[in-house]
Symmetry: C2
Subunit: 171 residues, 2 copies
């Protein structure tokens, strides 16, 4: 069995190059996904234990908290990245809990505007403060400079993705 005399080095280079450069986007995506899942689950658990709220409810209330005069359901759907049909049920449950109220403006009866109640504002501001602290806590071991860098670079990812969507979506 004659062994090939050379080619060893070349092979290493090729293999290394392949491993280094290949599927990098895929690996980044898998890591982003698992990290996001991990954080979501932790936030969800704390919201549930300490406030009896769910993460989608928190998200929705966060949008309403920024726009005190309220938002149309379609606008809420876009901002929370939740489908229309889903917003309906979400708002229904929040309304049943007295945290949100629905109003149909006089001008356009197609529209429903959701708005935080006073109770909703109070409750949300407590949750928001805790939420912010949890994140500082969870990311405590990451250098601030790295956090900034990540914020910027993930922005680049988001913008690349936005430019390559198959549907007509953009932002």
């Amino acid at each position: 069995m004659a062994e090939p005399e050379s080619a060893t080095v070349d092979l290493e280079i090729i293999v290394q190059g392949a491993q280094e450069g290949k599927k990098l986007e895929l690996r980044l995506w898998l890591r982003m996904l698992s990290t996001t899942k991990l954080i979501s689950q932790e936030i969800r658990r704390r919201l549930r234990n300490e406030f009896g709220a769910t993460l989608p409810q928190f998200d929705l209330m966060a949008q309403l908290y920024r726009e005190r005069e309220g938002l149309r359901l379609g606008e809420l759907s876009k901002r929370t990245m939740v489908t229309n049909g889903n917003v309906t049920g979400l708002v229904e449950r929040l309304e049943a809990d007295g945290l949100v109220q629905r109003v149909t403006p006089d001008g356009d009866r197609r529209v429903t505007v959701a708005k935080l109640t006073e109770k909703g504002e109070t409750q949300f501001s407590a949750m928001a403060a805790a939420h912010e602290g949890w994140l500082r806590d969870l990311m405590a071991d990451v250098e601030p400079a790295i956090v900034s860098e990540l914020w910027r670079d993930i922005g680049a990812v988001k913008s690349s993705v936005s430019n390559h969507l198959s549907g007509a979506d953009f932002d």
Copy 2:
């Protein structure tokens, strides 16, 4: 109305410092979350349109594809970060579609092992190839060096988060 004569510069510095350093972790998290949602929705749409599959099904099959001899449901639950009860239904539907089969080993009748069928392997490998291409495509505008950097730094985030979980979870 007497205007304050100085203090302008000091204020700018203070404000800028506050904006720069504050809530950075929160902003990073919100950006991570929205970016992940955006990519997930795009992948989900393409999986549905081109293969009639869902993202959780794809995830589950990916784990089984790596372990050809199959995995116990509990192990699948850990690897996919999906709860036990959820794995049950997921595997049920995949079995109904003939993509996965369930086996109870002779030694331990508590256990159920899920395994890809031949049909499942064929179908998955087509999906996996497409999936990898989609990600390269979606992230095409991001420099490879940035992709690598993100992969590393998000690893740091994940590890910080893992060390600060409230439950007894770790990895």
